[in-house]
């Protein structure tokens, strides 16, 4: 735990989470809601809004961490229509911050959408919400209706020239649709499969091949505060390059799992996992074995990484990523092989099936790990596991290279590479068998018992 502990900071995006009725329009308005929008429409040009967001150095909160203001600038000038797509398809295992934002403060998101759309110059926004998030969908639908009725969305918003329609779209349950080009495909009514970049960079050729800005829910939820308080005030919080506050979802073997808003870039993992007001230490007095710092696709961290600040550069330098802000904690009772298998199984099931290495590779990795856990590991399996990983993500480096179209394939490699590097003995212990291979058709067993070598015929007795 850091000596001074984290300093007191304003709650920028989670300020209404503790209010029972924080999701209602009345409560939102009575707690300063839609004043930022009014300020933007009345006193700022779209370019000024963009400048303010650039000044805030607001990094995208979806995982890649690209500066939002810069991203908006990538739309080719003069090409219309352009679209804003809100990525609310939060489905990385361990990540549940956007869900809370949508459930508990939907109007804040809507105001953020309006501000972003105003800055970009688009008249149509699409809000893509993960299919499983029933409450978020319900609350957002209600909030959108209220906002339309109150004149915050629609034609000539608040008497200005600015008009916007927001379409709420429910996903159909595919992790890969969290990837922005797959999300766009899905939104167009196609199968959710990623597009190739190049040429399909959304800013140039996005939804319906028009310039499209895809932003994360949390990113947009920061905009009302930034417009109200100024980009400079936002940039004063946090570290130099990781400004403001950020939501982290802590889960796993901690005493107090939950989503916490902390100062970005200066708070450490130790603060977050052990701080009283946050994770409150490992459960039942166990010791930390490993933790995933940024969602299931991030390489694992261990005890020695606890004092790293929650900052993209520092975490990246240490060989992992902050990603979507999901921290999964494993104590020493955790079986590293099983943990790796669980993560890989997720990716194998969620692979969209478009490109070969991901479709076949992740499923194969899952089968090998499952076989090990079932007691059918063979000598050489660990090397084979790593070589299959290498065929999906060459050289197993960080940041990962990939033979796949999108990063989902390498995502399945990270947990295996982490676990094998750190806990190789646990894997080797499961790979002692030298069973002969037998493929059981339609059977559950992968391997038969070792074949007994044939006994040589007893030599004939000499006459």
């Amino acid at each position: 735990m850091s000596e001074a502990g984290p300093r007191e900071i304003p709650r920028i995006v989670s300020s209404r989470w503790d209010l029972e009725d924080g999701f209602t329009l009345d409560r939102y308005e009575s707690t300063g809601g839609y004043t930022a929008l009014r300020k933007a429409l009345d006193t700022m040009t779209p370019a000024q809004v963009g400048e303010e967001v650039k000044a805030a150095s607001l990094l995208g909160r979806g995982g890649a961490g690209f500066p939002a203001g810069v991203k908006w600038g990538f739309c080719p000038p003069g090409v219309f229509p352009r679209y804003l797509v809100v990525n609310g398809d939060e489905s990385e295992p361990g990540t549940y911050k956007d869900r809370l934002l949508m459930e508990r403060d939907p109007h804040q998101l809507i105001e953020g959408i309006l501000i972003a759309a105003y800055a970009i110059g688009c008249g149509q926004a699409f809000l893509y919400v993960r299919g499983e998030m029933a409450l978020a969908q319900e609350r957002l639908a209600g909030a959108l209706n209220d906002a339309y009725a109150a004149g915050y969305i629609g034609r000539n918003i608040m008497g200005s020239e600015f008009s916007l329609d927001v379409v709420l779209h429910w996903g159909a349950g595919a992790y890969i649709v969290g990837e922005e080009t797959a999300l766009i495909e899905s939104l167009e009514g196609n199968r959710g499969m990623p597009r190739l970049k190049p040429p399909f960079f959304p800013a140039a050729k996005g939804l319906y091949l028009q310039p499209t800005v895809v932003n994360n829910v949390e990113t947009l939820s920061n905009l009302p505060w930034i417009v109200s308080n100024g980009g400079g005030a936002f940039a004063e919080l946090g570290a130099e390059k990781s400004t403001g506050t950020r939501l982290f979802a802590v889960s796993g073997h901690v005493n107090n799992p939950g989503v916490f808003e902390v100062e970005f870039g200066v708070t450490t993992f130790r603060d977050l996992l052990y701080g009283k007001q946050y994770g409150d230490g490992i459960r039942n007095g166990h010791r930390l074995k490993a933790f995933i710092p940024g969602g299931a696709s991030a390489p694992w961290f261990y005890e020695e990484h606890l004092d790293l600040p929650l900052e993209a550069g520092a975490v990246g330098g240490a060989g992992s990523m902050l990603g979507s802000g999901a921290i999964v904690v494993m104590d020493e009772t955790t079986d590293a092989v099983k943990a790796a298998w669980r993560v890989v199984r997720f990716f194998a099931r969620e692979s969209c099936g478009k490109c070969t290495p991901c479709r076949e590779g992740t499923a194969w990795l899952e089968k090998i790990l499952r076989r090990m856990i079932d007691g059918q590991g063979r000598k050489g399996d660990v090397d084979k596991l790593m070589d299959v990983c290498d065929n999906i993500s060459p050289q197993i480096t960080w940041p990962p290279k990939q033979t796949t179209i999108c990063p989902l394939g390498p995502s399945a490699v990270s947990p295996i590479a982490s676990a094998v590097l750190r806990f190789k003995d646990e894997f080797e212990a499961l790979c002692q068998g030298d069973a002969e291979v037998s493929v059981a058709i339609n059977g559950k067993a992968y391997l038969s018992q070792p074949v007994q070598p044939e006994q040589p015929e007893p030599a004939e007795a000499p006459a």
């Binding site: 190049p198 692979s351 070969t356 479709r359 076949e360 290279k401 058709i441």
Partner: protein, 896 residues
């Protein structure tokens, strides 16, 4: 590069090209070209599964990963997705690229069943081949493979084995992007992804066979070829499909003298590698047990009995000779011939016109357009019609039903190249959704509509042919502002061909620069017409008057009077004026629009002599039947709707004693006491070059030189004539001889063609590179159709791809696909009938009535009844309703 210093070091990069290094070799690639294509073009093959040059790349299989360095260091990239860039370095065999390729192949194989010994693809399988070249020696996969029920049908002719499938997206992309029949899809996700159809929505596409050909594994197989042969037992010959007049290039593959498969060949100006299923699987008819293998003669008991060739020819020629003696040459008539090769057609034209002396010969059966129109209009190629940014006016049949690959080309042009399609059709077609404007004109009034579209003027009536004035003005604007090509054909058999001819004439007069693409359907109808197989025409698109001079000394005689066309021949036969009627692969009872006239005609001719592949309904009426050799059994050339001459190859021997049509013609001539002067198909071209400037420099050899054949230029350009004469071998001197030109003329000195020839009206200076003007098209008189009777419906009779045609009836896999006779009317009109969909309705014309099931159909406008001709199921043949002498046919559709 203008700097001479630099030019020494680096080769000059031409405009529109970039310099790329591939495996250490400097290559020039076209801007925008994909790395995989540029590498292959310059001799470096990069392995691939999903990439197909005729489809949008998707980068899915990852087999083509190579290291590409654009200045930021080498990185593994799919070469099918990356366009070349100046200074790019591509390494296809680096350790990283090789490991990636090997890894991808191992992944592809872990769930592949490796049942190569029983797989039809084995031996020609890209997965096998590339595993040998780029793959790991053995698999490390010890777990259980994925299992599916296999194979399962996705359509009547295509089966899928989902275990073999490597999910490359070729078939699904083809179905969606190329064919526009998105009926097979990826289903499920991840490792469970499979290609399948949705329940009750089979992959019923006219183009489904292409998916089998482009499948890089044995996942898709076609019933006609399954387990018939191993690829290494097949030998092949390149040829041209003769199922319709598009002229798709393909190979015919056979084993043990049996045709077993056709595969599309990518001919850039025509079919891009695709074939329709009717063409692809039509080979079953070649092998049919019902093929005629010996001549038949009608005996006293009115039965057809097997006979020897000498007996049959003796009977045929003596009947012919007696007929000529009795009624003169005009008593002889020839129907059909558009099935024949160019050489066969010429032999028969020479026999009929040059030896017998009759001009009563028509290769069309009144189901096409006037021969003078086809011979006289300026002609476009498919590429010209599909040129980016143009407008295509389609006044003709639904290309999807009659000329399927032309449909694919048009579809691509509309969707990818900004071509606007304007369709004039009395009913909605499968092509209508591609059209910028699709106008439903009242049958029989197309010429009026076309005239209004060409010049709407200021005093346009409120409607023309059922089209509102404002629509006409919109379309007229579009037609006027961009380059225009017209596709003209005969969609509706009840509509007089003169209405279309008059429409074409109006376009030709108003817009002389506009070229036409003929949409006549029969395989070599254009070649037959070019050989003069129509009344009033001689070889080389010449009229009797213009072409006679060149024939003196070559043909014993040339008819002087224009003879009868098909309708005229049948009417004359019915009136007892035709003594000998030849049927050259013609089945007028089923194909002539007016069934009653066809019946009377066949009955009225004294002797009917048929040469055919099958005993069709009409052939059964013949007195002498001569078995002909058909497709894949003869060699020669065929001419497609563009006027493109390509070769057809012999691959197998004909059944029994069947003979090539030119041999039959030659035998008949000999028995009449003449030598046809033809000893081989190739020899025909020596004579054609001599008698018709259109064919200067053209021969089967020339057609084969460049795989794309030779296009007959029409109108011809002076420059091209020079070029041909300068480059061709024996042609020019013979041509010069025939024209009486100075033998010493050097190449480039124009040999003036006869100024009388319509194609060679040379400008004043005699060397204009501009196209020569064609003589004006004749005027066609059109009878205006009567007003529509309030109780009647105007009949539209169109063709479907699958019908009761002879080839289809003998192709086992296709014969069940014809939908059967149905009369379709607009739902509003249907409501008046008080019937349930599918009940039999009585359809009554002035001629007769038929009973056919009726269906409501929104694609049919009010006031129109749609029938597809030559379908089974009607109580009588529906072409019995049609009177070929009237401009339209009105019917009543009622409860029986």
């Amino acid at each position: 590069m203008t700097d001479t210093q630099d030019a020494v070091d680096a080769p000059e990069v031409p405009e529109g090209m970039v310099a790329v290094t591939v495996d250490g070799k400097q290559i020039l690639a076209k801007k925008g070209e994909l790395v995989i294509a540029a590498a292959e073009r310059t001799g470096t093959y990069i392995p691939r599964f999903c990439y197909h040059p005729r489809m949008e790349p998707v980068g899915m299989c990852r087999m083509c990963l190579v290291e590409i360095d654009t200045g930021r260091g080498p990185a593994l990239q799919p070469s099918c997705m990356i366009e070349v860039a100046d200074g790019m370095t591509v390494t296809t065999e680096s350790p990283a690229a090789e490991k990636a390729q090997e890894g991808v192949l191992e992944f592809l194989l872990i769930n592949h069943p490796l049942d190569c010994p029983v797989c039809d693809k084995g031996g020609e399988c890209p997965l096998q081949d590339q595993t040998m070249s780029y793959g790991p020696g053995e698999s490390r996969f010890v777990e259980e493979k994925r299992h599916y029920e296999k194979p399962i049908p996705v359509s009547d002719v295509v089966l899928i084995d989902r275990e073999r499938c490597i999910l490359c997206d070729r078939c699904t992309r083809f179905a969606k992007d190329v064919a526009g029949d998105p009926l097979i899809h990826f289903q499920d996700r991840g490792n469970q992804t499979q290609v399948n159809t949705f329940p009750d929505h089979p992959f019923a596409s006219y183009f489904s066979g292409n998916t089998v050909q482009i499948c890089p594994v044995g996942a898709l197989t076609a019933t006609p070829f399954r387990f018939k042969a191993r690829p290494w037992d097949l030998t092949e010959a390149e040829t041209t499909c003769t199922s319709c007049s598009v002229g798709c290039r393909m190979v015919v593959q056979s084993s043990r003298n049996q045709v077993l498969r056709y595969q599309g060949v990518d001919l850039d100006p025509v079919n891009w590698g695709w074939l329709c299923d009717k063409g692809r699987f039509g080979f079953e008819a070649v092998n049919s047990d019902e093929r005629l293998g010996s001549p038949l003669l009608r005996d006293e008991g009115l039965l057809l009995e097997s006979a020897t060739w000498s007996a049959a020819l003796e009977r045929a020629t003596s009947a012919l000779q007696q007929g000529i003696d009795r009624s003169g040459p005009e008593g002889v008539a020839v129907l059909g011939g558009s099935r024949l090769t160019n050489e066969d057609a010429y032999a028969w034209v020479k026999l009929a016109k040059g030896i017998i002396g009759t001009d009563n010969i028509d290769c069309q059966l009144d189901d096409g357009l006037p021969a003078e129109l086809i011979a006289g209009m300026p002609r476009a190629t498919i590429d010209e019609a599909c040129a980016p940014g143009g407008v295509v006016l389609l006044v003709g049949p639904d290309p999807k039903e009659e000329l399927p690959i032309l449909f694919l080309r048009l579809r691509h042009a509309v969707l990818n190249d900004g071509v606007d399609l304007v369709e004039l059709s009395s009913v909605e077609t499968a092509t209508s959704h591609l059209a910028t404007h699709s106008l439903r004109y009242r049958p029989g009034e197309v010429h009026g509509l076309v005239k209004a579209l060409l010049d709407p003027g200021d005093d346009l009536p409120t409607e023309v042919a059922g089209i509102r004035a404002d629509q006409i003005e919109d379309v007229a604007r579009l037609l006027g502002e961009r380059p225009l090509t017209v596709i003209i054909g005969r969609a509706n058999l009840t509509e007089a061909a003169e209405t279309l001819a008059a429409a074409a004439k109006a376009i030709n007069v108003a817009r002389p620069e506009v070229k036409f693409l003929s949409a006549l359907r029969r395989a070599n109808v254009h070649g037959a017409l070019d050989m003069g197989m129509a009344p009033g025409l001689l070889a080389g698109r010449a009229s009797l008057a213009d072409g006679t001079e060149a024939l003196s000394g070559v043909w014993p005689r040339v008819p002087t009077e224009r003879g009868l066309d098909a309708a005229g021949i049948l009417a004359a036969a019915a009136a007892g004026k035709i003594d000998t009627l030849f049927l050259l692969g013609a089945d007028p009872l089923n194909d002539f629009p007016d069934r009653d006239l066809a019946e009377r005609g066949l009955a009225g001719a004294r002797t009917v002599i048929a040469t055919d592949l099958f005993l069709t309904e009409s052939v059964r009426q013949a007195d002498v039947v001569l078995p002909a050799a058909g497709f894949a059994e003869v060699r020669g050339t065929t001419t497609n709707l563009e006027g493109r001459i390509t070769t057809v190859s012999q691959k197998v021997t004909p059944p029994g004693t069947a003979q090539s049509d030119w041999v039959i013609a030659s035998d008949i001539a000999r028995r009449l006491g003449y030598d046809l002067g033809i000893e081989s198909p190739e020899q025909v071209w020596d004579e054609l070059q001599r008698i018709a400037p259109l064919f200067a420099g053209i021969s089967p050899v020339a057609a084969d030189e460049d795989g794309s054949g030779v296009v007959l230029e029409w109108p011809r350009r002076r420059a091209s004539v020079d070029e041909l004469e300068a480059t061709s071998g024996s042609g020019p001197s013979e041509l010069g001889d025939a024209m009486g030109a100075d033998e010493t003329a050097t190449p480039g000195d124009a040999v003036a063609p006869p100024a009388t020839h319509p194609g060679h009206v040379v400008g004043a200076n005699g060397a204009s590179p501009e196209p020569h003007e064609l003589p004006p098209l004749p005027d066609w008189t059109v009878v205006e159709p009567p007003a529509v009777d309030a109780y009647g419906l105007r009949l539209v009779a169109t063709r479907k791809l699958y019908d009761q045609g002879t080839q289809l009836r003998h192709s086992g896999s296709l014969m069940g696909l014809a939908e059967g006779a149905v009369v379709r009317v607009n739902p509003h009109d249907f409501q008046r009938l008080g019937m349930s969909p599918g009940d039999d309705a009585r359809v009554t014309s002035a001629r007769t009535h038929v009973l056919v099931p009726a269906q409501p159909d929104e694609r049919v406008p009010r006031g129109v009844a749609l029938l597809h001709v030559n379908q089974s199921g009607g109580r009588v043949n529906v072409n019995a309703l049609i009177d070929s002498k009237t401009v339209v046919t009105d019917v009543r559709v009622e409860r029986p």
